[in-house]
């Protein structure tokens, strides 16, 4: 999908003259507090702009039904959000919201293995480590088979090796279902490795270095 922004403003946080994102794998980098996360939240329509135009495939965001839009474009929080209940409950909750048929236990177990999480489906999700919880959130998002994934520092709670493995698994799976991935990261190596384009946000504005 093509995301275009024209003279957008959000509080004192964002002020972008023009930005277009069309590529399949894009990294957004920049210092803490520069507005990267806010940009993702606007893209997912969790918050709305104060002024300016946000178009997706040349259609204004306000012409999309908000809930249907968020069922195509899925944002994954930086801080893993875990619901009360088991690992399985946490993995299927998004599919239940979207009235999609939930996968069988084998498929979920395969995904847990692919992401290197050692737990049963019935384990309490809150008892997992932060890094494991973050990967549970990745699985939860991937199962939704969204057209676009917006990831806010998806690997912030992972160590270097796990980070790389998790990103590879995520990108491979996303590619196999034909999804576009736009992710915020602090790590320039990860940005270089997985993105075809890197966008830098500085003080709420976009700077791009070719």
């Amino acid at each position: 999908m093509k995301f275009s922004f024209n003279k957008i403003k959000y509080k004192h946080i964002l002020n972008i003259e023009r930005l277009e994102i069309n590529e399949n794998a894009v990294a957004i980098v920049g210092k803490s507090g520069c507005g990267k996360s806010t940009l993702l939240r606007i893209m997912a329509n969790i918050i709305s702009l104060d002024s300016g135009d946000y178009l997706i495939d040349d259609i204004n965001i306000n012409d999309y039904n908000a809930v249907s839009f968020r069922r195509i474009v899925t944002l994954m929080n930086q801080k893993p959000i875990i619901y009360f209940g088991s690992v399985k409950d946490n993995i299927v909750i998004g599919m239940l919201y979207q009235n999609k048929t939930t996968p069988d236990d084998k498929k979920i177990t395969d995904l847990l293995n692919a992401f290197n999480i050692n737990c049963t489906l019935e384990s309490s999700a809150k008892s997992l480590s932060l890094g494991e919880q973050q990967r549970i959130c990745m699985i939860r998002s991937l199962l939704l088979q969204s057209k676009v994934y917006l990831l806010d520092e998806p690997t912030s709670s992972l160590d270097k090796e796990t980070e790389d493995a998790a990103m590879t698994t995520f990108f491979d799976t996303a590619k196999s279902i034909g999804s576009q991935v736009i992710f915020v990261t602090h790590n320039p190596i990860i940005a270089e490795k997985y993105a075809e384009r890197i966008i830098t946000v500085e003080g709420g504005m976009v700077c791009e270095y070719p």
Partner: protein, 265 residues
């Protein structure tokens, strides 16, 4: 079967308890003498005023005096909810709180008076006013508990609600648990008090009726009826409140709008 009257001198003797309390407060340096005096004075003045007002209303039974009394009671109940809400609430939510309290209590009062007790005329103040008082008072507490629980949850579970929206939930799906918890919280105290009723305590209405010479077997029928009516009033009030109330936390793009101004006092 007339109840014994209390002479003013006898009543004055009961203020000895207050003197005892003031002494304790002074000797122990608790420093609450002023509050004790103000509370006793206010209680006395308010009840004396209520006693004379009710006498006037009882001696001139008319639908408009009864209606006026009920409206005053509802007004103070609504003000009380706003004052005792832990979190600041939006104007939209205030209207919903007031509307659901009025609808829920009035419907139950009329049902109880006209269909269950079959009072004639329906506005007979001797029945209408005390029964409304109990139903409005309990609905007020119920909705206040539900309101505090819900407004707290919207602040504390903000991240979870937003995450559900990100996963494609509608506002209704994302707040399902919060709404249910709010209903549960508002009903639990009443349900719990029903568990011990008649064993641990004799409820106020029944005690009053028995003191006035009503047969206990009649008094319990009133008590059972009023308890169920109270439960009904809270249920109706809180259901209307939560089903409309949760929507005030979202805008037309189904985005959560709990701003920083909604933080705890």
């Amino acid at each position: 079967m007339n109840i014994l009257d209390i002479s003013y001198f006898q009543l004055a003797l009961s203020f000895l308890f207050i003197i005892l309390l003031i002494l304790v407060s002074a000797i122990r340096k608790i420093g609450k003498q002023k509050l004790i005096i103000i509370a006793s004075l206010r209680m006395t003045v308010q009840l004396v005023a209520a006693g004379y007002l009710l006498t006037i209303v009882f001696e001139n039974p008319s639908w408009y005096l009864t209606a006026a009394t009920i409206m005053i009671m509802l007004f103070f109940a609504i003000i009380n909810i706003f004052k005792r809400s832990i979190n600041p609430i939006s104007n939209k939510l205030k209207i919903i709180v007031a509307g659901s309290l009025i609808l829920g209590s009035l419907f139950t009062v009329l049902f109880f008076i006209i269909i269950i007790v079959r009072v004639f005329p329906w506005y007979s103040p001797q029945y209408f006013i005390p029964i409304s008082g109990m139903i409005i008072g309990n609905s007020m507490t119920g909705i206040l508990l539900g309101l505090n629980k819900m407004s707290d949850d919207f602040i504390e579970k903000r991240d979870i609600i937003e995450n559900s929206l990100m996963l494609g939930a509608t506002a209704k799906q994302a707040t399902n648990d919060i709404v249910n918890k709010s209903i549960e919280t508002s009903l639990l105290p009443t349900l719990n008090s029903m568990l011990g009723m008649g064993i641990i305590s004799l409820p106020g209405m029944m005690t009053g009726q028995i003191l006035s010479g009503t047969l206990p077997t009649v008094a319990i029928k009133y008590q059972i009826g009023i308890m169920l009516a109270i439960l009904g009033a809270i249920t109706i009030t809180v259901i209307i409140f939560v089903l409309l109330g949760y929507k005030t936390y979202f805008n037309n793009r189904e985005q959560l709008v709990v701003e920083t101004k909604f933080k705890k006092n």
